[in-house]
């Protein structure tokens, strides 16, 4: 499990930040993205995938979360 931070960019897309590695990347795909269910499997621009426990849409961004690494591209 990794501590990550998800933030919204100026154009409204999500961006992924892994503080431990100072790694920031765009989220290109998210399994669930509606107001009642948000998260699931996310895919990053570099090809890595992470899993966030599906939850209600966070009230505000950025938000720190725990995520499971499924496949990191590094």
């Amino acid at each position: 499990m990794a501590n990550i931070m998800v933030r919204k960019t100026a154009v409204g897309t999500y961006s992924f930040y892994l503080p431990k590695r100072d790694f920031e990347d765009a989220i290109v795909a998210m399994e669930f993205d509606s107001s009642d269910k948000w998260g699931g499997e996310i895919r990053l621009n570099n090809g890595g995938t992470y899993y966030i426990e599906p939850q209600a849409l966070p009230a505000r961004f950025p938000i720190s979360l725990r995520a499971r690494r499924l496949d990191a591209a590094e």
């Binding site: 933030r7 503080p19 100072d22 720190s64 590094e74």
Partner: protein
């Protein structure tokens, strides 16, 4: 020196790498790259933030340097105790020229060295008692200090002293914040982790102290983050922001105070200059307090104008007009500076090797002067820094991460830049090779270089270094080739006679 092509630069890297043993060569090859602007992610071309190779000469610092020297040190009304043996504190004392206003030793302590001066018995029996006594002494001798930070040196972590417990207890006794910082030098691969640790300790021990308290806010409150006021940089930046109508609530950390740091969560926008050392706290404030942050660049008129407009875009028309007014006001001055220096510097090449933000931020300033940056590199950057650098640098220029003494010397010997921008450790090596060098860590005891006022000084200093007549006198007259011309010979003979 004419520009190198991509192939030539690649060949140069290979040639330089040849001296290493196999394993070291493979490792170092990952840290050297030819810039390709089409690459979006730097880690495809360059590796960074890795442990330096044993046996090579690196110029990196340690976590203690990152915390005490960079982030905490400039906070002027706090006492920063170098907890451990005396050397770390003494050799990092006042070297970074973080200017501040105040009476040193009374209400400000920036250039003083406070240390617990560990001896053998402290290592054997533990130094907690000494720390407690030291805090009492500080309180007695310097009653106007606003707080203490305890900057751990290596032995503290090795012997397992509990500085947190001592700090908490003493803080209650003296009624001022005491921040234990676990920045032992052996942590991490460079000073970069020290920045992170220092940011985290500010977050945990200082930032939320005024949460919920009243604050006379205005819609134009901003803070300057990651400007360490080297030679007065933060002041030169601050006046521009104030002139466009913003209110600068806090300066992190150059000429900053504890109160300013505590009030930062009340601002509307965090302006981040040194991304590397303070992005952590900016991200934290964005999450916890909803304060957006913005990277800006105050080197050279082109970048300043861009940054001022980007900052103003976060505010209303009043500020936007203010930004245009500031840009217009300084335009004639800047044009005069460029008209004066550009003809003297046009086409000259520069190679940079610094840390933090400068390897990419100053590129614009050199370009404003008609100069070209042909190689750049960071001591302790991470991938996100190179992501930002790749776009700033020209194609086929050289990038080097954590360059070793040998590599840097070889690159500069071959690429023959007209100027090198690096630090004191490189200065005399290259000047003896006949290449002018300006220190880009401390501005070579000049400065400020930020802001419009700073650019005028920057241009003068670069011209002073490059156009100095001493560089044509590197070869003594008796070693001069005969083709250097008979016309110069008598003049030089005359000069020699004068000296004799």
């Amino acid at each position: 020196m004419s520009e190198l092509t991509r192939e030539e630069t690649e060949a140069l890297i290979q040639e330089v790498l040849e001296v290493y043993p196999d394993k070291a060569r493979r490792d170092r090859a990952k840290h050297l790259a030819v810039n390709d602007q089409s690459v979006e992610q730097s880690k495809k071309c360059i590796t960074s933030n890795r442990k330096s190779l044993p046996g090579v000469m690196t110029v990196r610092g340690c976590a203690y340097a990152g915390s005490k020297g960079v982030v905490w040190g400039p906070i002027k009304d706090m006492v920063h105790v170098s907890h451990g043996p005396i050397g770390c504190g003494q050799y990092s004392r006042a070297g970074r020229r973080n200017y501040y206003v105040g009476t040193t030793g009374v209400d400000t302590f920036g250039t003083m060295n406070f240390t617990s001066d560990f001896q053998e018995k402290d290592i054997v029996f533990g130094g907690d008692k000494k720390l407690a006594r030291l805090i009492g002494e500080i309180e007695m001798l310097f009653p106007l200090h606003r707080g203490i930070s305890v900057q751990s040196e290596c032995p503290i972590g090795l012997i397992g002293d509990d500085i947190e417990a001592v700090s908490k207890k003493a803080a209650k006794e003296i009624g001022k914040p005491i921040v234990p910082v676990r920045c032992e030098g052996f942590r991490g691969v460079s000073q970069s982790l020290g920045h992170h640790i220092a940011n985290d300790s500010i977050r945990d021990w200082v930032l939320d102290r005024r949460d919920g308290q009243a604050f006379a806010a205005t819609p134009y409150d901003v803070s300057i983050i990651g400007d360490y006021n080297i030679g007065g940089d933060a002041w030169a930046s601050r006046i521009l922001l104030e002139e466009m109508g913003l209110r600068v609530v806090s300066q992190w950390a150059g000429d900053g105070t504890l109160a300013e740091i505590e009030m930062t969560p009340k601002v509307k926008l965090n302006l981040l200059h040194c991304y590397r050392s303070m992005n952590y706290i900016s991200r934290h404030m964005e999450e916890k307090y909803g304060i957006p942050w913005l990277e800006y660049n105050f080197f050279g008129p082109t970048k300043i104008a861009e940054s001022l407009r980007a900052i103003a875009a976060h505010f209303d028309d009043h500020i936007r007009e203010g930004a245009e007014r500031v840009i217009a006001r300084y335009q004639p001055t800047m044009e005069a500076v460029i008209a004066h220096y550009k003809p003297r510097l046009q086409g000259k090449t520069v190679m940079l090797y610094v840390g933090g933000l400068r390897p990419r931020h100053v590129i614009g300033a050199y370009e404003d002067l008609g100069m070209q940056v042909i190689g750049t590199g960071y001591e302790f950057a991470h991938n996100d820094d190179y992501d930002r650098t790749i776009k700033e640098m020209g194609n086929a220029t050289l990038l080097y991460d954590d360059a070793t003494g040998f590599e840097l010397e070889e690159f500069i010997k071959r690429m023959k830049p007209d100027l090198v921008g690096s630090g004191i450790k490189e200065k005399y090596v290259f000047q003896k090779m006949g290449i002018p060098l300006r220190q880009m860590h401390s501005w070579d005891y000049s400065g400020p270089y930020h802001g419009y006022d700073g650019f005028a000084i920057f241009a003068r200093d670069m011209d002073m270094a490059i156009s100095n007549p001493c560089w044509s006198k590197q070869t003594p007259p008796w070693k001069k080739q005969p083709e250097s011309g008979a016309s110069t010979a008598p003049r030089e003979a005359g000069e020699l006679k004068k000296v004799a």
